[in-house]
Symmetry: C2
Subunit: 404 residues, 2 copies
C-alpha cells in the first residue's frame, strides 16, 4: 500500500486498475448523454432519395436567368411520389423534404417566384442543383456514423432515429453503494438523539453520483461496535455494486476502520492518505470488479475526495472523459490562510467578459457544509502557497462541466 | 403579429409573457438540479452542540505549550454523550464529530500526542478552541439557509439533509408536447414508404428537453389533409402540456400550417419569421398557460430554433437562468460562405490552454444532421459577415453548459 501518494498518482493508479467496462443495450432515447460501445454504420444513403430543400417549384431546367417564365404543371402533395418526367420549361410545386420528379434540375423557392395563372416567373437566377438535397448528401451507405466512445448527444439521437436505429449498445451506468461508518451517525431521514448527527454525506454523494451518470446502489449505515459483521456487509455490497464508497473511518493512523475492512476483504489497496486538505485520510482499492473508496466523514472533505478520486473512475467506467477540467481564473476575493499541505478551496467559477473568475466560498472548514453550496470549482493551491489576494490567478478544477 | 423580429426581441417577448411558474413538493434527492421555490431557514444551530473536529483528546485546559503532559481519563465511544466535567490537566479520548465533555477547552489531534500509560504528552502547542467545532459555527438557528431561486446542488442537498428537511418546494418541470406537421413524416420507429422520411426531430427535441429539465409530454405526428382535426389535436395538447412545439409547417408566406393553427386556437402570437439562417421560419405564441413554438422541420434549423427560443423559456419556467451563455472563441478551421442573414453556425467549443476555441462542424446545410453531432456551440455571425478564417475571433453561444 502506498501512503502519502500525490493526487495525480492516486488518480493514475485508479484509472490503471479499472475493471472491464460493462455494456448494455438501450433505446436511443435512453442513451442520451451516454457513451456508445459499438461502431454504427449507415445501412443506406441519407437522404435515401433526392428531395426538395425548400417549399417551391421543381424545375425541368437548372440554368435559368432571372425573369424566366416556366409552365406550372401542378402541385405535389406532402408525401406524394412524382412519376412524370419534368421537361425543360416545366415546373411543379414541391414541399420541403418532398420527393422530386425524375429529371428535376433545380428547385426555386416559392418566395422567389411570381405566379400568374400557370405562368411562373423566377425572381432570381436559378443554377443547376440549387435547393436540391442530393441522395446521400448527409451520409452515404456504408459510412461510419458513430464510433465506440462517441457521447450520444441530441444530434446523435436524431441521426440514429433518422436511420431507424432504435436500440444501441452503450456502456452501463455504474451502480454505487455507500457505506457510512460511524456510531454517532443516523440516516438523514431520522431524528438524531443527543450526540448523534444526521448522515448528510450519503444524500450529497447520491446527488453527485446522479450528476455523473451513476446509479444509486445499496445504502448502509454501519456501526463497528454493534453486532453487525461489517466485513459481511461490505462483501455483500461489493458483490452488488460497481463502486462502494465508505465515508468516515478513513484515518489510517487511528486504526482506520475502512482500511481494516478493505484488507480483511482481500482488496488490493492502491493508496492510503493523500497529502491534501481537506480529506487527506482517503484510500482507493479494488476487490474483484468493484472499485472501493474510503472518504473522510467530514462533509467538505468527503465532497473534495469524491471529486478528485471517485468522479474520474465513475466517468471512465462509462467511457466518458475522466477529467479533471482545468482552467486558470482570477480570484474575486481573498483567502487569508497560508496553505500547508496542498489545499482544495471550494469556489464558484464564472466565465465573464473579463475571462474566468473564481469566488472563494465562505465556510472553508472541512467539517462545514457552507462552502459546498453553489460550489462548481476547486481552487488548487500547492503546498506552502501564500494567502490569496483579490485578482490573483489560480489553477481551478471545474466541476460537473461539459466544456472539455 | 411581428415579423422579421430579431432573435433578442423574440426572446424578450417570450420571457415577458411567461405563464405563472408552477411549483411542487418533492424529496430533497429528487430536487437535485432543480430550483427552490421557497425560502428555508435554520430551525436550530448546526452543529447542534460543540463537537470534536478530529480524532484525538479533549483537554480541560486550552492553553498548553508543547511537551505538556495531561492525565488521560478514558475514551468516549462513537455516539457517547459525555457527562463529567473535564478539569485542567485532564484529557479524554474523542472521535471526529463526537460530543465534547463539559468544560472542554480544546482538542489535540491523536497524531500530535504521545501516550505512555495514562500520561499524554502534547507534541505541539494547543490554543483555546483549537479543533473544536463550535455549536452553530456552520449555521445558526434562524439563518436563511437557501432562498427562492437557489439551484439545488449536491451541497444544498447535504445542507437540507443535515437539518432533516426531506421535502422542499421547487419549480415544476415543464411538460413539453411535440406536434410534427407533415404528410411525408412517419415516426422514427416506423419503416418509411417511398417519399416518406422518419421524424428525427421528435427524438432530438426529447433529448434536448431532457438535458434542460423538461418532461416529455404528448407526441403526435399529424397530417393536414387526412381526417384528423388538427385544431382539436393542438387544443388537446395545449390543455395537457406547458409547452407545445410544432415542427414543420412553419413557413408563413407559404400559408404556414402552424401559424394558421395557432391563430385558429386564439393564441397570442408574439413573432413570426426571424431573419436568421437556418430556421428563419419560426414563431412563438401563448395560449392560456401554454407556450407555443413553431420550428422548422429541417433538422439543423429545428435544433437552432430550439436553442434560441424554446430553451430560454424551458429554463425560465423552472426558475433557472434562461441564458444564453456567450463566449468569444478563436476558430480552429474555416467557413467559406459569406453570411446573408444572421447565421448560427454549429460548432464544437473547447476551453484549452490557449483560451476558448471553436471548430466549425461539417455539414452546415439546414437539412443535414451531420453538424449536430458533438455540437455544443452556435457561432453567431451577424448579417453580411465575411467567411471565417482559422484564428478569427467569433461570438459563440455555449449550449447545455453550467458555467454561468
Amino acid at each position: 500500500m502506498q501512503t502519502d501518494t500525490s493526487v495525480e498518482k492516486a488518480q493514475q493508479l485508479l484509472l490503471d486498475h479499472l475493471p472491464p467496462r460493462k455494456t448494455e443495450t438501450v433505446s436511443v432515447l435512453e442513451a442520451n448523454g451516454r457513451t456508445l460501445a459499438e461502431d454504427i454504420f449507415a445501412g443506406y444513403d441519407l437522404p435515401a432519395a433526392s428531395q426538395s430543400a425548400v417549399d417551391g417549384y421543381a424545375l425541368g431546367e437548372g440554368n435559368l436567368p432571372i425573369n424566366s417564365t416556366v409552365q406550372l404543371k401542378g402541385q405535389l402533395g406532402a408525401g406524394e411520389v412524382p412519376e412524370h418526367r419534368l421537361e425543360p420549361g416545366e415546373a411543379i410545386g414541391v414541399l420541403t423534404g418532398g420527393s422530386l420528379p425524375p429529371n428535376c434540375q433545380a428547385v426555386v423557392p416559392q418566395e422567389k417566384t411570381s405566379l400568374a395563372g400557370l405562368k411562373l416567373e423566377l425572381m432570381e437566377q436559378i443554377k443547376p442543383g440549387q435547393n436540391i438535397k442530393q441522395a446521400g448528401e448527409d451520409f452515404s451507405s456504408g459510412d461510419l456514423l458513430l464510433s465506440v466512445g462517441q457521447k450520444i448527444d441530441p444530434g446523435a439521437v436524431a441521426l440514429l432515429s433518422a436511420f431507424g436505429i432504435n436500440q444501441i449498445t452503450v456502456f452501463s451506468k455504474p451502480r454505487v453503494g455507500i457505506l457510512s461508518l460511524g456510531a454517532n451517525i443516523v440516516s438523514w431521514e431520522e431524528e438524531p438523539k443527543p450526540g448523534q448527527v444526521r448522515d448528510s454525506n450519503t444524500p450529497m454523494l447520491l446527488a453527485l453520483i446522479g450528476y455523473q451518470g451513476g446509479l444509486a446502489g445499496d445504502l448502509e449505515i454501519a456501526v463497528a461496535d454493534d453486532n453487525t459483521d461489517l466485513s459481511i456487509k461490505l462483501r455483500q455490497m461489493m458483490a452488488k455494486n460497481d463502486i462502494v464508497i465508505c465515508t468516515g473511518g478513513s484515518y489510517f493512523a487511528a486504526g482506520s476502520e475502512a482500511a481494516t475492512l478493505f484488507q480483511a476483504a482481500g482488496a488490493q489497496i492502491f493508496y492510503w492518505d493523500v497529502p491534501i486538505q481537506p480529506g487527506s485520510h482517503t484510500g482507493g482499492a479494488r476487490y474483484e470488479d468493484c472499485m472501493l473508496f474510503a472518504l473522510s466523514g467530514n462533509p467538505a472533505a468527503c465532497f473534495v475526495g469524491y471529486q478528485l478520486f471517485v468522479a474520474p473512475v465513475l466517468l471512465a467506467m462509462q467511457g466518458l472523459n475522466p477529467g479533471p477540467v482545468w482552467i486558470k481564473a482570477k480570484c474575486t476575493n481573498e483567502f487569508s490562510k497560508k496553505t500547508g499541505s496542498r489545499r482544495l478551496v471550494r469556489g464558484r467559477a464564472e466565465y465573464t467578459s473579463r475571462g474566468w473568475e473564481v469566488t472563494i466560498l465562505p465556510g472553508q472548514k472541512p467539517s462545514m457544509l457552507r462552502s459546498l453550496i453553489n460550489c462548481n470549482a476547486l481552487i488548487d493551491l500547492s503546498a506552502g502557497h501564500p494567502p490569496l489576494d483579490e485578482g490573483m490567478e489560480v489553477s481551478v478544477i471545474l466541476l460537473n462541466n461539459n466544456i472539455a
